[in-house]
């Protein structure tokens, strides 16, 4: 299909761009190509009128589901249908025990990160028309499956909590209704990092995190980045944060494979953030482990 084309595009990028810009513009180009494909497929599907999803099923306590299996559901297709729409239809019309997390259906609650056709994606944000059928829907890899598409998020939350994920500044202004000042530039700098919705797609895609349960992982490091780069916290706190990130299970485990950046549904340049923290750590002259 388009693999060759994408590679050519990569080479055609001017060298003056930063790696982050380059990767984001590549991602954009891929998105455009995907969109073209999606439109084409949508037309075919509309004529076809239904799509098949192959859904991973598992329930540790229900006879017949203790052994993982895939169930096929054929659901009527409509224009704009998302993976989440297809799952809801299958659940409400064919099998009410089909289990998956979802809530906002607009890519902000982060509940429905799934492994769809071999890639981590948000179900609510992924158009059925952009996927090859039958569409294979699995729980996020590298996490324990609780049931069907629901995974145990506990480890993810623990890692998020491990980086002191809260703002720290004891030196607050004392005037009536007086805020801390933050330059628009600094706000812009942390903007992308603050968009994380804790969906866990990045962690699931990361080979390092898969092999090493202790590695903080991209989401937690990005959370630390959000505070370390926030000028309101001040230099002393930043040093403390870098110390946490520098430890054995911190930034140095990242091997810049970019899989997290690739799957992030909020387009956060995670790998770049990790790299920047590595540079900051070196700058601040802290020892490696």
């Amino acid at each position: 299909m388009s693999t060759q084309l994408e590679e050519q595009k990569e080479e055609a990028q001017p060298e003056t761009e930063s790696p982050q810009e380059r990767r984001l513009s590549e991602k954009e180009a891929r998105a455009e190509a995907k969109e073209r494909e999606r439109r084409a497929r949508e037309e075919i599907r509309e004529a076809d009128d239904s799509v098949t999803i192959k859904v991973f099923r598992y329930d540790p306590e229900v006879a017949g589901k203790e052994e993982p299996r895939f169930d096929d559901f054929q659901v009527p297709f409509f224009k704009g249908m998302t993976v989440l729409d297809a799952l809801i239809y299958a659940r409400d019309h064919y099998d009410s025990s089909l289990t998956f997390r979802h809530s906002c259906r607009q890519a902000v609650c982060g509940s429905d990160a799934l492994f769809v056709n071999g890639k981590q994606r948000l179900g609510c944000k992924t158009q059925m028309a952009e996927l090859d059928g039958p569409v294979r829907i699995e729980p996020l890899p590298h996490q324990d499956v609780v049931k069907d598409l629901v995974v145990d998020m506990e480890h993810f939350y623990e890692q998020m909590h491990a980086v002191e994920p809260y703002f720290q500044n004891e030196d607050l202004p004392e005037g009536e209704y007086e805020e801390q000042k933050q330059s628009p530039e600094n706000r812009e700098k942390i903007k992308m990092s603050t968009r994380c919705i804790w969906c866990g797609a990045c962690m699931s895609s990361c080979n390092i995190a898969a092999g090493d349960n202790e590695y903080l992982g991209p989401a937690a490091i990005n959370k630390a980045y959000r505070f370390a780069m926030d000028e309101r916290e001040g230099e002393v706190t930043k040093e403390d944060r870098l110390e946490i990130l520098e430890q054995e299970n911190g930034v140095w485990r990242c091997q810049t494979q970019f899989s997290c950046t690739e799957v992030c549904p909020k387009d956060i340049p995670l790998t770049e953030h990790i790299q920047e923290l590595k540079r900051e750590a070196v700058k601040s002259n802290l020892k490696f482990w």
Binding site: S103, D148, E179, P184
Partner: protein, 607 residues
């Protein structure tokens, strides 16, 4: 049994703020939520947080705008407390690290919003709710506040006195979604309901799938009156295919609404000759639907919201999230073309009756945020007033429950505040199918905490056994029917016969609900069971909205009635109250309070 001083049900903005306040007051506080906190729907709020921070602005102006926006159905003590406290709350958020959008001098930016006399909406891009939610969850983590996440609260544990005002809330019963365990929770100082809105009562809504009105329904069945439930906000700019919200911030920054003839409808047809697109939400929603009904809608369904003229730089700076939403959920590039929008259910003005301290008429039971009706928003909420409400009243409820001193409240609650009974004929039966046996038992039975909670646990265990063992219909079909009739009959424009049809349909839904069953036998993560329990709540809340809408024969704020096309202050300057009355609902009224520090004379509401 789990024991804490204060239990907070729900972990969105109001719940998180309440928990932090209770913790600061020294209480052992825990949160019980059917989602993980960061999944809460506060995260989807886009536009901003109103607070009169600018030296030329004042809390008095904010209170005045809010009262006018409410169409004079807000209670003055609630409105004034809100406008005063909102300023501290916004600054508190900033001190907790909230990434607000900034001016060149580093101060927090404020933008214009509908119905405001001054630009006082603070914001963080077009994803203010996301940042507010995460900032407060961070503070909960920092304080080590215990969170029972993915625990669905099934019911409250309330004593069974005949007189609602004698009842006490001792705790609750919750279901651990992961394991299927049903457990009792004791709260020695208070239970705070902060479960958000009931958007799933309708089928075109900006609300999340989890917004099933659990808090309203549980408080209502325990005996707390629901107040002004007919006042439902339909947001004028939602995406037609999914109901995803397009922030009022787009119009605040200068976005324009066009009909199919490319006319600027708000001015062309005189809906709001002064404020145009920035009129109050109820005004704009009616304008859009009138255009559609008169044949000037696009594809007979929606109108266009155009922001292209704002320029790419400004859009990316202040409204970037809107571009993503329009692209991902409607396939429209907001930089290149206008966005299709239509009204969608967005917010419930009415709710669980509380006073300014978050207290209900049941001792130890509180409500805050969208779940509560204090009454701040009256007949119509202004954009940017929901987030400060959940901060102000979340904090007050948390503080009061934990024993903090807020002074005596001025707003009376409970059936004793009634000044007029209703003689409305609902034309359909309402309430429990088997009134009397539902909810609490007869007076004189045990009232101590232990017994009350154990009895409540047992009732819920029996309910779950029944649902799991029975053969019957899938709740999803009942839920669909409720959503359909509410959207068809209890929408922006309301007619008597439609409202009666809705009540009849809801009666039928209630009867069908008797026959629902859960197919999935599993104790592990049984969402079939959770959703089935939610659907009962949806039915109760839907009915309360339809009854209120039928009772109120006037046109006020978001409530439009055919053949009653004016605001009738002589007759209707009062709150609609609906008490469950152990399954045989009673409708009554209580007066609006239009005077506190200032006096608010009802004026004609034009924008």
């Amino acid at each position: 049994m789990h024991e804490h001083d204060v239990l907070v049900v729900g972990a969105g903005g109001a719940g998180l703020r309440a928990a932090i306040a209770a913790h600061e007051e020294g209480a052992d506080v825990a949160m019980v939520t059917k989602l993980h906190p960061v999944r809460s729907h506060t995260g989807a709020a886009e536009g901003g947080i109103n607070a009169a921070l600018h030296p030329e602005d004042s809390w008095e102006l904010h209170a005045y705008d809010t009262m006018k926006g409410s169409d004079y159905l807000g209670d003055a003590p609630a409105v004034e407390t809100f406008a005063q406290d909102a300023r501290d709350e916004v600054i508190q958020l900033e001190h907790w690290g909230m990434p607000f959008s900034r001016e060149e001098d580093g101060t927090v930016s404020q933008r214009p919003f509908g119905g405001l006399s001054h630009p006082r909406t603070t914001y963080a891009g077009a994803e203010t709710g996301h940042h507010l939610l995460h900032t407060m969850y961070e503070q909960v983590v920092k304080r080590g506040i215990e969170v029972y996440e993915e625990w669905h609260v099934m019911n409250l544990a309330v004593t069974d006195h005949d007189d609602v005002e004698d009842r006490e809330c001792h705790g609750l019963v919750a279901y651990d979604i992961a394991s299927g365990e049903i457990e009792g929770f004791r709260a020695s100082d208070g239970v705070i309901l902060a479960t958000g809105g009931p958007g799933q009562v309708f089928d075109h809504t900006t609300n999340a799938v989890a917004n099933t009105g659990d808090g309203y329904a549980m408080a209502y069945r325990a005996g707390v009156p629901l107040e002004d439930m007919e006042f439902v906000q339909f947001h004028p700019t939602t995406l037609p295919s999914t109901g995803v919200l397009i922030s009022e911030g787009v119009r605040g920054e200068g976005g324009i609404l066009y009909n199919d003839d490319e006319e600027r409808l708000m001015f062309e047809y005189g809906y709001a000759n002064n404020d145009g697109e920035l009129a109050s939400r109820d005004v704009v929603s009616r304008a859009e639907l009138t255009e559609v009904n008169e044949g000037r809608g696009i594809e007979d369904e929606y109108v266009h919201l155009d922001m292209r003229h704002l320029g790419e730089e400004r859009i990316l700076d202040r409204l970037e999230n809107i571009l993503h939403l329009a692209e991902d959920f409607e396939g429209v590039d907001g930089l290149e073309e206008p966005m299709p929008v239509k009204p969608g259910q967005h917010y419930q003005m009415g709710g669980v009756e509380t006073n300014e301290n978050g207290q209900t008429c049941i001792d130890g039971l509180y409500a805050a945020g969208e779940t509560a009706c204090v009454s701040l928003h009256g007949a119509n909420r202004l954009g940017g007033n929901a987030l400060p409400e959940l901060l102000v009243y979340g904090a007050r409820a948390g503080k009061h429950a934990a024993g903090g001193d807020l002074g005596e409240a001025e707003i009376p609650t409970g059936p004793s505040a009634q000044n007029e009974a209703s003689d409305m004929d609902a034309a359909a039966e309402i309430g429990a199918l088997d009134a009397g046996s539902a909810g609490v038992a007869a007076d004189g039975a045990a009232v101590d905490a232990q017994t009350v909670i154990e009895a409540a646990v047992q009732r819920e265990q029996e309910r779950v056994e029944r649902l799991l063992e029975a053969d019957g219909i899938n709740h999803a079909h009942v839920r669909d029917d409720v959503q359909e009739t509410m959207t068809e009959n209890v929408n922006v424009f309301r007619r008597e016969e439609n409202l009666k049809d809705a009540l009849a349909d809801l009666r039928e839904a209630r009867e069908r609900y008797q026959h629902v069953a859960v197919d999935d036998p599993s104790r592990t993560y049984n969402t079939d069971l959770i959703h089935t329990m939610e659907t009962r709540n949806i039915i109760d809340v839907a009915e309360s909205i339809a009854i209120g809408a039928l009772a109120r024969e006037e046109f006020r704020g978001a409530h439009w009635r055919e053949q009653h096309q004016e605001r009738k202050d002589d007759e209707w300057l009062k709150h609609t109250m609906l008490a469950w009355n152990d399954g045989a609902p009673q409708l009554y009224y209580k007066p609006v309070i239009l005077e506190a520090e200032k006096e608010y004379e009802p004026k004609e509401r034009s924008y």
